[in-house]
């Protein structure tokens, strides 16, 4: 018990040391490089709006095509003819 206490007391003999200046230089360069590689807020908005427009256009196109196709099929059915390129072929 006493030996263990003596050993634990050795821990308080550990000296405080100074960190090297190079560490601060590294931190600053890492912050700078992160800033350079980070996309700017303006870029994020531009890409976001472009991606949103593309999504809206593609969904719109799909819906329009679906609607047109179903109109053609309906018309063909009403006229009692088989539409071209349909499942009836």
């Amino acid at each position: 018990m006493k030996h263990s206490q003596n050993n634990l007391d050795l821990l308080s003999s550990i000296q405080k040391t100074e960190v090297s200046d190079a560490v601060y230089e590294n931190i600053l360069s890492m912050i700078e490089s992160r800033k350079k590689n980070e996309p700017s807020i303006r870029q994020l908005w531009t890409y976001g709006i472009a991606a949103g427009c593309a999504l809206v256009l593609s969904v719109g196109t799909i819906l329009y095509q679906f609607k047109t196709e179903s109109n053609i099929s309906q018309l063909a059915e009403n006229m009692n003819i088989i539409p071209n390129n349909s499942l009836y072929n």
Binding site: M1, H3, S4, N7, L8, L10, L11, S12, S13, I14, Q15, K16, T17, E18, V19, S20, A22, V23, Y24, N26, I27, M30, I31
Partner: protein, 173 residues
């Protein structure tokens, strides 16, 4: 403004972080890496820091968290290295203790005893190890340790007692 505040915080806490990291990893290279990591986190979280606690307490918490993460990552890497070494034709990876003991704060005459003691401290669980480091090396009071660790002072006392018992048992003292 942000950069100025950061520099001020760095200058007044750099040695606190570095020395605390040294107590966890016991080598200069790893302690420097942790110090960088801690201050990058401080830089990122500076805007969200609320003055509910002292800056130093906040930095202690970040440092402990980073040290424990670093050790976990290193152990996982070592385990992976061992698995790959089973298929390796030249298994020259170190198989001993993960600690490369290179603590600049240890006096020459105590080096052997402290290396052995740190070997035992490193086998304690995270909380017991943290309590030993904060109370015995950083010489924090029980209430300060409790605040840093977000536990009650009674829990700190109990952790300290268990840590001492474990050190005694594991060290065959």
């Amino acid at each position: 403004m942000h950069k100025l505040t950061f520099e001020k915080i760095y200058q007044s806490n750099k040695n606190l972080v570095y020395n605390l990291a040294l107590q966890y990893v016991q080598n200069i290279e790893d302690a420097e890496e942790i110090t960088q990591d801690v201050f990058l986190s401080v830089y990122d979280k500076l805007d969200t820091f609320q003055n509910k606690s002292k800056v130093s307490t906040w930095i202690y918490k970040i440092t402990i968290h980073k040290c424990l993460d670093f050790i976990k990552a290193k152990k996982a890497k070592k385990r992976f290295g061992f698995i790959t070494s089973l298929w390796d034709e030249k298994p020259d990876l170190p198989k001993g203790e993960l600690v490369n003991f290179d603590h600049p704060g240890v006096l020459m005459e105590h080096k052997e005893s402290l290396q052995e003691l740190f070997g035992i401290i490193n086998t304690l669980n995270e909380k017991q190890k943290t309590v030993i480091i904060l109370t015995k090396i950083e010489e924090k009071s029980v209430s300060e340790t409790a605040e840093i660790m977000d536990v009650s002072p009674k829990a700190v006392e109990s952790l300290l007692q268990r840590a001492k018992n474990n050190i005694r048992t594991k060290g065959n003292y």
